[in-house]
Symmetry: C2
Subunit: 365 residues, 2 copies
Amino acid sequence: MTFSPETYRDRLDRLRSALGEADTEAMWVEPSVGLTYLTGLTPVSIERLFGLIVTPRDDLRLVVPELLADESKELPGEAEFFVWDDATGPERAAAAALEGIDRIAIQGSLPSWSWALLGSVRPSIEATIDDGVLGRLRELKDAQEVDALRRSGAVTDEIVEWIGSLDLGEMTEAQLAGRIQARYLELGFRPTPEGLIASGANSAMPHYIGGAERIGTDRLLLMDFGCAVDGYWSDITRIYFPRPLSGQVKECYEIVCAAHDAAFETAGPGVFCSDVDAAARKVITDAGYGDNFIHRTGHGLGMEVHEPPYLTGANDQPLEVGHVFSIEPGIYLPGRFGVRFEKIVHLGESGLESMNNSPREHFFA
Amino acid sequence: MTFSPETYRDRLDRLRSALGEADTEAMWVEPSVGLTYLTGLTPVSIERLFGLIVTPRDDLRLVVPELLADESKELPGEAEFFVWDDATGPERAAAAALEGIDRIAIQGSLPSWSWALLGSVRPSIEATIDDGVLGRLRELKDAQEVDALRRSGAVTDEIVEWIGSLDLGEMTEAQLAGRIQARYLELGFRPTPEGLIASGANSAMPHYIGGAERIGTDRLLLMDFGCAVDGYWSDITRIYFPRPLSGQVKECYEIVCAAHDAAFETAGPGVFCSDVDAAARKVITDAGYGDNFIHRTGHGLGMEVHEPPYLTGANDQPLEVGHVFSIEPGIYLPGRFGVRFEKIVHLGESGLESMNNSPREHFFA
């Protein structure tokens, strides 16, 4: 359990209020960041049905496989347990736990098999996706969450620096991805499972995963990674360049940095996400590379690496104090190279705070 | 891409035949082991809609976010691309791709939000979970899959041995979990994300995740972990004991090893999964610990750590040549200790093959 029992009791109370306000009878929370947010639990349940049922009243029900029952006891509140075992399956326990509930909210992350199972054991139930009621609580970060995100950003800045001490020309993209993950683990933090490590032309694919290609120190090396500190993620993109930074690579990188700065200047309380996206996009479009900026300007992050608010052209949600999100414009020239500059920012009472302070330019040794 | 293009073309062809036989119009495959099995692709799509639509005919459709379009080009067959971007969202592309399809099979792993989205962009479509049609192909392993699983088991045996060289009394459970993951990464393999490392009484919780507790070398240390080699997992449970193995711990460990052997002797082509479970359970029950064996005897594994066939009392599915599964009986005494012995086996033409050869007993140095 990362935080104090009071923190979890408070979060559960706020979910109960939100459910009441939304006139929602109950919510089913499967093993997910939502469950960890509410309880501190991180059960390894996988294909076994597990669900915390929260209602606006002061009661909890837990559908739990027998092998996880003991470690699930420390819930932040009185709970009725509906335990099932591998021989008989979860159906009877789930039906008993859902007794009397006609409408239940689920998270969009719930696997289809679980959603279908709720309906099959209680055919009269209406189970609908409502990420908002719990997602809304998770979206606005409190001081201890911001602190975890700040520490996460600082560790990741250190990793970018440390990468410069490696003999990068002697390894493949996938090897560097593994080295980064191992380094995080050594420091006691959980790395992102996929290392986006792209040498040369591979960087033109924004979500390219490092492969068997040897890193070329005569080409740029784009890296996008992060880690979880107390469950809260960092996420950074930095590039190691061959010296000197020149030609079209220099031109494009300066443009994405300027686009980043324009978005940073624009963001603030009450500003629409779409306006922040537009600010970055305008810089890149004006420079003639609009068609090469093939993704949104940023995404929220917290217990998930990607979560609301999303900084897209279509999102007219206003930014609020407590939001933590990435600003990461990019330019991608297929078959040649891609550049992106990504930083996490926190919108606090006194404005935007950078969660990453890693320099903008890094060069191969 | 782990295997040859021919391998993926062959897998797709077999899925097409299976869809035809099952009279299924089409299947939607999201980023998942199912997609990787069929195409070799491992897109980092997360909250962005991505789906490969396979039909019994020789055509493919791909709904793909713009930022993943380039890296998704190497499909094992001609495909029509339905590309969408962050500003406009996936709805129009998904609707166009589903045009003319009235019934579509999905995997149970599909997140509810994606399932709901298919129905919202094409209200007339009937999207139903059918894991069997693709799961069946993945369940029976071919020679190159068995080879990957064999190598995965061998690497994991080495890690168990290596753990004995560490100063275990100087670290916490979570630190050991991190060290194991880092060691796998150093060797070039992907570790299981959760390290189940349990010292002393924590071992009585079968899926306990290592925490801040210092490892006690005067108590048993139960470890359950594995890695992926070419995408195929290993999974082992071994215990480091204080010397000598004595008292009730010794008694219970001998019982679970005998239960393992009884299951191993029972398993074979045509034998029901439930009979293998019963064989292990009988040994433990006869010894008076039936109530303390609180999970099934085993699970299949391959591209997922847990997958069919499941060795439960309720599963009357017969074992077949090509099945790879764990045998892992355990005894758990709450508040005191738990013991489990787990090995992966492959049912080949000439009988059961052990994928793990790590000794049964390990002792603290």
